[in-house]
């Protein structure tokens, strides 16, 4: 493609970023931890989308997953357990010019922060959410999480956990204003990348559940899936994920699914085996809370003063000599 001189100049003045521009400290996750794959995918995404590192914020809570911001060279907010969503919402409300990502885990999102999760879906604020779901608490050393399968033996469930696992996809798809739900697995990184990229491009609360392995505490959990590609169901669609021929060759279990079909999405969400991978639901027409709330005008001191004086006028007792006219009226008149 030929470019005009002007276009060349523009291209020259644009910033170009390399992977290194997004690579922060050396990850301290275990070897083989799915978090490494997620980190690689988002770093690649930042580079490909040319996100300015100074205009990008990765927000997290507490847990292995929530260390992710430390390994990015963007702005990061590594907060407290369960509260990544409200922090991210505050950032987004104050600064709609920033790209906001959230890394959260199955304990952070689905247990201690579950209340915020439900409401974050409903607010539908524009952010890309990665639920690092390894089905177990890692940082606190192996306790059952809400997504642990029934029967899991852990330090707090030595005789096996009693409860059935919570399904994050079904929960999210059940909340009013849901606008984007997808599922990825760490053993198909190419598709994980495509899904996170689609999530980023969706304007709204893009929720990606990423099933990942915990080599330390649940090393054998997903072995059957790794050994049998048929147990991974790839959801394809012209509006969803499209597979390259190689991948399609390896993973032959495909299903065409239209992401605008929420009823089908809910059916697929409840599948446990095979594990569905792809975009389950997308609705670009759900309004974002920050768009609904943002008052338009520029907050100049003059504007604030005028509004303030108007309010004071309503509650002012004037001295006898100048009863009547308020300051706001005087200012405008």
């Amino acid at each position: 493609m030929t470019m005009s001189a002007g276009q060349c100049l523009i291209r020259l003045s644009e910033e170009h970023h390399t992977l290194e521009d997004y690579q922060g400290g050396v990850p301290r996750w275990c070897v083989g931890c799915g978090d490494n794959a997620i980190l690689a995918a988002v770093q690649r995404l930042c580079r490909d989308e040319e996100l300015r590192p100074d205009r990008t914020v990765f927000v997290s809570g507490i847990g292995c997953s929530s260390r992710l911001p430390h390994y990015m060279k963007t702005y990061g907010f590594h907060g407290i357990h369960g509260r990544a969503f409200p922090v991210a919402e505050g950032i987004r409300m104050a600064r709609p010019d920033l790209h906001v990502f959230v890394s959260t885990g199955d304990g952070d999102c689905c247990s201690i922060g579950a209340g915020h999760w439900i409401h974050a879906v409903r607010y539908n604020m524009n952010m890309t959410v990665m639920l690092h779901d390894n089905h177990v608490y890692g940082l606190t050393k192996k306790q059952a999480s809400p997504t642990s399968p029934a029967g899991l033996k852990s330090n707090t469930t030595p005789r096996g956990s009693e409860l059935a696992a919570l399904n994050p996809l079904s929960v999210t798809l059940g909340v009013q204003n849901v606008s984007f739900v997808a599922q990825a697995v760490d053993w198909v990184p190419e598709v994980m990348y495509d899904i996170i990229a689609a999530a980023f491009r969706h304007r709204g609360f893009s929720f990606v559940r990423i099933i990942q392995r915990c080599p330390e505490y649940l090393p054998r959990m997903f072995e059957p899936w790794l050994h049998d590609p048929q147990k991974t169901l790839l959801l394809t669609h012209p509006d969803g994920i499209q597979l390259n021929p190689e991948l399609a060759q390896t993973y032959r279990n495909h299903r065409e699914h239209d992401p605008s079909d929420i009823d089908r999405a809910r059916e697929i969400a409840s599948l446990e085996d095979p594990i569905p991978v792809g975009i389950l639901y997308r609705n670009p027409n759900v309004p974002c809370y920050e768009d609904l709330r943002h008052p338009a005008p520029m907050r100049t001191p003059e504007f604030i003063r005028a509004g303030f004086e108007r309010e004071l006028d309503r509650v002012t007792v004037w001295p006898e000599d100048d009863a009547g006219a308020g300051l706001a009226e005087r200012a405008s008149g």
């Binding site: 927000v59 907010f77 409401h119 001295p319």
Partner: protein, 664 residues
């Protein structure tokens, strides 16, 4: 219509409204009424108004009958006349408690004076009650002055339920026997002449009555009605103005008492709002853009008002899904460059503590308003208490230094928010502003604030960070570090709630952990160096110094004036900054023989058999001041859920001064 039109056939004590010459009534009056009532039976005309320097009136009703609106309007009219006013709301805990119940008393007290009024005062001089049960609530609480005048709705005398009729009769009789002056008034019946649902119009009728009683300008009354019903159509305003007029006329014809409290209109503009509105106006004027909250009593009315007006200056009230989220949302917004505020009360304040700790650790500016109520747990949601000071100082785990301000007047509620935002952003600290349920609902005029652009926050800093600058480059003297805000080129770092070094890197080294603790603590000292020693109210030396904080200021200073008038050598000191405390306190205390805090929170009672100096729990401020000054500071407190009265403070001071005298 003749007066007998409203007089019940079996009227027992129609008192001052009695038609002249009705023999049955007169004989009844002469037989049972105290002196005051007998005089009242005579109709006095012309300029009968008695001049007073101040008066306390209450309007008491079942919930939902509009007594508070009536009282607030009365106060607003008096304030417009130039009177000093202070209103105290009387709020039952439930939205709709059972009708005609002692516990359901809902209403308002208005103290009107010639001079500036700083608190709700002692006992009530005049009560207008919509039924005898809610009135009983106030009588039993000891809120009425001996011999107070009671204007009581008389409809119950003819109620179809004989039990109600009997109850009403008994209460009236008992009150009269106790020396109260009871005036029965057919409010319902009079209102029915004008509106189909008198229950909804009675309050404006009573407003008219009280305008007459206090010789207030009825024209201002009309304006006030137009103001409160301004959003409704003209017919509604007109109907209420008719009620107002009728109430005024009825009082003119049927009440034999009238007062005039000389007023002097201020030479400067005043605003009349309650403490929560003042807080909200402070948010407006402070340049903050985001308020995140979750509904809780008694803080919510501030958010109601803000929700109404904040967007007009480009602000947003976010009602979060819970208290924790509200605080975290505010922290997120602050982190991103716009210092935010979260407004709550006790239980919500407890829930926010972990997030507050995060803001302390990460040095994110944040304003937290706690409109205190009775605690612990759900406690007394609608009642005042100063119970959260220690939670504000020491809340959150670990060493979490934060600034704590306590608003002491309605005006202070306004300015405290502006100050808080400024300190929060200058020092990158959490600033807690303490108000309470009594300030929240009390109204008192104060000089109209003159807007200053200095109040506003500067624009979000988006300038590139100097090469090599660190996100926590603590100044060795002040502990201050320049904060990097997202969007600033070269400022990228990951903020963390973990212990961290100057680069914001997670650090577990002992020295690094102490470095962070050290500098976060130093910031308080840096702020402390800028504080001014508060002035002593009264003489600079004497027998006792009363120390207070928060909403008790007016009552304490009034008590000090009374005690000085008795010849006692008592002064007071009121603290606005609780953390850090200003310098010079110990020197001030040294000039008094005895120092005692007066607070509205729990402290152990010395008269209890097992309480002694080894186990006595002091009030919050006393605890803090004893530790800070090493002065043997005494305390007196009550936690009745009501504002402390000047009289109670006087009694307490006299008792302690006597104790001391006896001890020597």
């Amino acid at each position: 219509m003749g007066p007998s039109g409203w007089l019940p056939a079996n009227a027992a004590t129609p008192a001052s409204m009695s038609p002249e010459g009705d023999p049955r009534t007169m004989s009844r009056l002469l037989a049972t009424e105290p002196e005051g009532v007998r005089k009242a039976a005579r109709r006095v005309r012309a300029d009968r108004a008695v001049t007073l320097s101040e008066h306390i009136v209450e309007v008491i009703s079942d919930s939902g009958e509009g007594a508070q609106r009536c009282g607030q309007s009365l106060a607003a009219i008096a304030a417009r006349m130039g009177n000093g006013i202070w209103t105290t709301e009387i709020i039952p805990a439930e939205i709709q408690p059972p009708a005609r119940s002692v516990a359901g008393a809902s209403g308002i007290r208005i103290r009107i004076g010639s001079q500036r009024i700083t608190n709700g005062g002692d006992e009530t001089d005049l009560v207008v009650a919509f039924n005898e049960q809610v009135l009983l609530g106030r009588v039993q609480a000891g809120e009425l002055k001996r011999g107070a005048t009671i204007v009581l709705e008389s409809m119950w005398r003819e109620h179809r339920d004989p039990k109600i009729v009997a109850s009403y009769g008994q209460v009236v009789e008992a009150l009269v026997a106790d020396g109260y002056r009871v005036v029965e008034a057919p409010l319902e019946q009079e209102c029915r002449r004008l509106v189909s649902d008198p229950r909804r119009g009675k309050n404006m009728f009573v407003l008219g009555m009280l305008c007459n009683v206090y010789s207030l300008d009825l024209g201002l009354g009309h304006e006030q009605v137009a103001r409160i019903f301004g959003k409704k159509d003209a017919a509604v305003i007109q109907a209420n103005q008719q009620l107002l007029e009728a109430g005024w006329q009825w009082a003119q014809e049927h009440l034999d008492f009238q007062y005039r409290i000389p007023a002097r209109r201020s030479t400067e503009a005043q605003i009349v709002v309650n403490g929560n509105i003042a807080l909200a106006l402070g948010v407006l004027a402070s340049g903050m853009e985001i308020c995140a909250m979750y509904p809780i009593t008694p803080a919510t009315s501030a958010s109601h008002y803000l929700s109404e007006v904040f967007e007009r200056v480009g602000g947003i009230v976010h009602q979060a899904e819970d208290e924790i989220a509200a605080c975290a949302f505010a922290v997120g917004a602050s982190y991103a460059g716009k210092c935010a505020v979260t407004i709550t009360s006790g239980p919500g304040f407890s829930l926010k503590q972990e997030v507050i700790g995060l803001a302390v650790m990460a040095e994110i500016p944040l304003v937290v308003v706690n409109v205190q109520r009775g605690g612990p747990s759900t406690g007394q949601p609608t009642k005042m208490e100063q119970g959260d000071m220690l939670a504000a100082l020491f809340g959150s785990h670990g060493d979490a230094p934060k600034v704590v301000l306590a608003a002491s007047t309605i005006e202070d509620c306004f300015y405290s928010i502006i100050t808080a935002r400024k300190i929060a952003e200058t020092f990158n600290m959490v600033v807690v502003v303490l108000s309470d349920a009594s300030l929240a609902t009390a109204q008192q005029p104060f000089p109209r604030p003159v807007f200053s652009e200095d109040w506003l926050a500067p624009p979000v800093d988006q300038s590139p960070v100097p090469e090599g600058a660190k996100p926590y480059d603590w100044d060795p003297v002040t502990g201050l570090a320049r904060r990097f805000v997202p969007g600033q080129p070269r400022g990228m770092h990951t903020l963390t709630g973990l212990a961290h070094d100057r680069l914001s890197h997670v650090a577990y080294e002992p020295a690094v952990n102490e470095e962070g603790l050290h500098y976060r603590s130093l910031k308080l000292a840096a702020l402390q160096k800028t504080l001014v020693t508060p002035p002593v109210f009264g003489e600079p030396e004497g027998d006792m110094l009363v120390v207070g904080w928060g909403s008790t200021r007016g009552a304490i200073e009034e008590a000090v004036e009374r005690l000085c008038a008795e010849g006692r050598r008592v002064s007071s000191l009121h603290l606005r900054f609780i953390q850090p405390l200003p310098s010079g306190l110990k020197q001030i205390m040294g000039r008094f023989k005895k120092v005692m805090t007066v607070e509205s929170n729990w402290s152990d009672r010395l008269e209890d058999e097992i309480i002694d100096e080894d186990n006595r729990r002091y009030s919050a401020l006393a605890t803090v001041l004893r530790a800070r000054t090493l002065v043997d500071i005494d305390c007196w407190s009550e936690a009745r859920g009501e504002p402390i009265k000047p009289r109670a403070i006087c009694d307490a001071v006299r008792a302690r001064l006597t104790d001391e005298g006896a001890g020597r």
